[in-house]
Symmetry: C2
Subunit: 359 residues, 2 copies
């Protein structure tokens, strides 16, 4: 019960702080005595801090307000991508305290070597934020994940790789990069609480956010948008099948933003083709899932001005008769760091939900 | 608070009854006095009944147990389909007390005339169960629905038809038939609590059940499986687009079970084609949604022995590399009455959740 009430108070502070103890008592329905005792625990754990409350027209001595503290507890977010490794430390107030990324060709590189390099990078960002205590570590990977296992990351060439800790011994939870990028967009971007986040990388994944939470599917494998069928007998996909969205609209099939800005007709045609394929796959996704908004992220962000028109045209053309309007189509606000920020956000969400697990 | 506690007690009785008042107090955390007072209200409203509890080895006088009562409150479920009208009365214990169906060619028939015929049918089933009080009426329609409006039912030829009452004045809530069929399968069939229900009719819809509840999408239009893209430039669909699943695997594209049982090679080939198209669309749906089980319902139930092998083959072929196993594929247990039973079930769920609204 006390653990639950600690989460209740910390949740109110995180959602609507700074707040006085009196306001917290009113919001939670707990007595002021109980709130004071809970706040004392949260202060001792370094999860909240106090600041003087200055309110015009209030009687009596000035009180103090309680706010989240970024001074002690933080999360380590990690990402293995096909072409890079990234690590960041984010404190409880969602301020990025350290962040490093290195280019690395991880295609078909042995998992142990990749994780050793990631471990070194993690050590570097942790050294930049020595005063913070890391409450947990989450690793974003471009593949299907379940029960501490990277089941299949086709673009890394990994299959059934168990990852429960880094070589240095630091425990780590693995999660699909598109799910984490969706969480990153939710926590660090300006997306609504219901959206389909499309992560355009070498592979294409999606994260489904419904009412502020991730919809993960029966076995945690929801959102594999890259393998939605665009053309039954189409070109071979790295997953072993044919005609998946990924072969038409993955990063390898797309021109660079520079080539597009230079006005080359081939680059524009390639973007148009990819956009139409993405529109077809999203038509199927919208028919199944009915998201209110579609957020295009990852490599689709700089390409958005060229990609959005063909995507929107296919959606309007194919969905128009059955629904009042197709979903809104917007670029992600978080850019390439969405997944690694989401990895850190997943840790911070857990701290806020169960602060008692911190001491 | 009292309304909430009435729902709590009735929910326990519905889920695990018959139960003594002492057991109800233990399960709900309420005092025995409070439980007795709540049970008195539920008895007076005819929602529960008492029966003697006979338990071997118990001391003291024999107590009584409380169980759901089918004697007073019931739901009216209605369905407009392309070729039929159906009405049923289902009591609170989920016993079907009356049910009638009439063949009717509702394609392009004026909505007012269809609803008048449905109203007459409703009157007939209500006359068969005169002692029951109807707590609510839900109407299943094969189309997209929102805010009391049938937005588009392409196979009926209806668009933007407002339905809030039958011609006789009885208030009615409209809902998509596939969503209700999924609910019917959940409440009257033997499906697990997480599944994708595929309703094979002239059109094809789907209902998504997650953790025992319907996943309806941001605008209530989730599950439009019939318009998932099978082939971009395929044959024209009645929705105005091309190559939707419906043109390959809707009832009009399928042979009769009799032709299949007779062993005709053309019938078998048609079923194989439809099954492969259904497998492609379900591949996309599984990639997006990751349902644990796929339930094939409606006209797919009698065709299941012929349809399931090509569907399963496509799913295994296209999903095999990315996930440990494709979802289980099973026929629906409820048959053609799934949607009309689900319509009644939606009313009964509301009564169980908020019994105080009944008096």
């Amino acid at each position: 019960m006390r653990a639950r009430n600690l989460g209740l108070v910390l949740g109110e502070v995180a959602g609507g702080g700074p707040l006085t103890r009196a306001a917290l008592a009113e919001l939670t329905g707990l007595t002021k005595t109980t709130v004071s005792s809970l706040v004392a625990d949260l202060l001792a754990a370094g999860l909240v801090a106090e600041s003087p409350a200055v309110r015009a027209g209030e009687r009596g001595r000035p009180g103090t307000e309680v706010r989240l503290s970024g001074g002690r507890v933080a999360a380590l977010g990690l990402e293995v991508n096909v072409g890079s490794l990234t690590a960041c430390v984010v404190d409880l107030t969602r301020v990025v305290r350290a962040r490093r990324t290195v280019r690395a060709d991880n295609r078909s590189r042995e998992p142990g070597r990749v994780l050793a390099a990631l471990d070194r990078l993690a050590g570097e960002v942790l050294a930049e934020a020595p005063s913070l205590r890391i409450a947990g570590t989450v690793l974003a990977v471009p593949g299907t994940v379940g029960d501490g296992l990277i089941h299949h990351a086709p673009h890394l060439g990994w299959r059934d790789v168990a990852v429960s800790a880094l070589p240095s011994g630091r425990p780590v939870a693995v999660e699909n990069e598109a799910n984490l990028a969706a969480l990153g967009e939710l926590e660090f971007g300006d997306a609504p609480r219901d959206f389909l986040y499309v992560s355009g990388e070498i592979g294409i994944g999606a994260g489904i956010v419904r009412d502020g939470g991730l919809l993960r599917g029966a076995t945690g494998l929801a959102g594999e948008l890259g393998h939605v069928v665009v053309a039954e007998g189409g070109p071979a996909c790295r997953c072993g099948s044919r005609g998946c969205l990924e072969v038409y609209a993955g990063q390898d099939a797309l021109p660079s933003p520079e080539a597009l800005a230079a006005g080359g007709p081939e680059a524009a045609a390639a973007c148009e083709r990819a956009g139409r394929a993405l529109g077809l796959a999203l038509t199927s996704a919208v028919n199944v899932l009915d998201p209110g908004t579609i957020v295009l992220g990852g490599c689709y962000v700089p390409l958005f001005p060229w990609l959005a028109p063909p995507v929107a045209a296919v959606l309007a053309d194919r969905l128009g008769a059955l629904r009042p309007a197709p979903p809104a189509l917007v670029p992600a606000a978080t850019g390439p760091d969405a997944a690694v920020l989401g990895a850190a956000a997943r840790v911070l969400r857990r701290v806020l939900a169960d602060p008692a697990a911190q001491w």
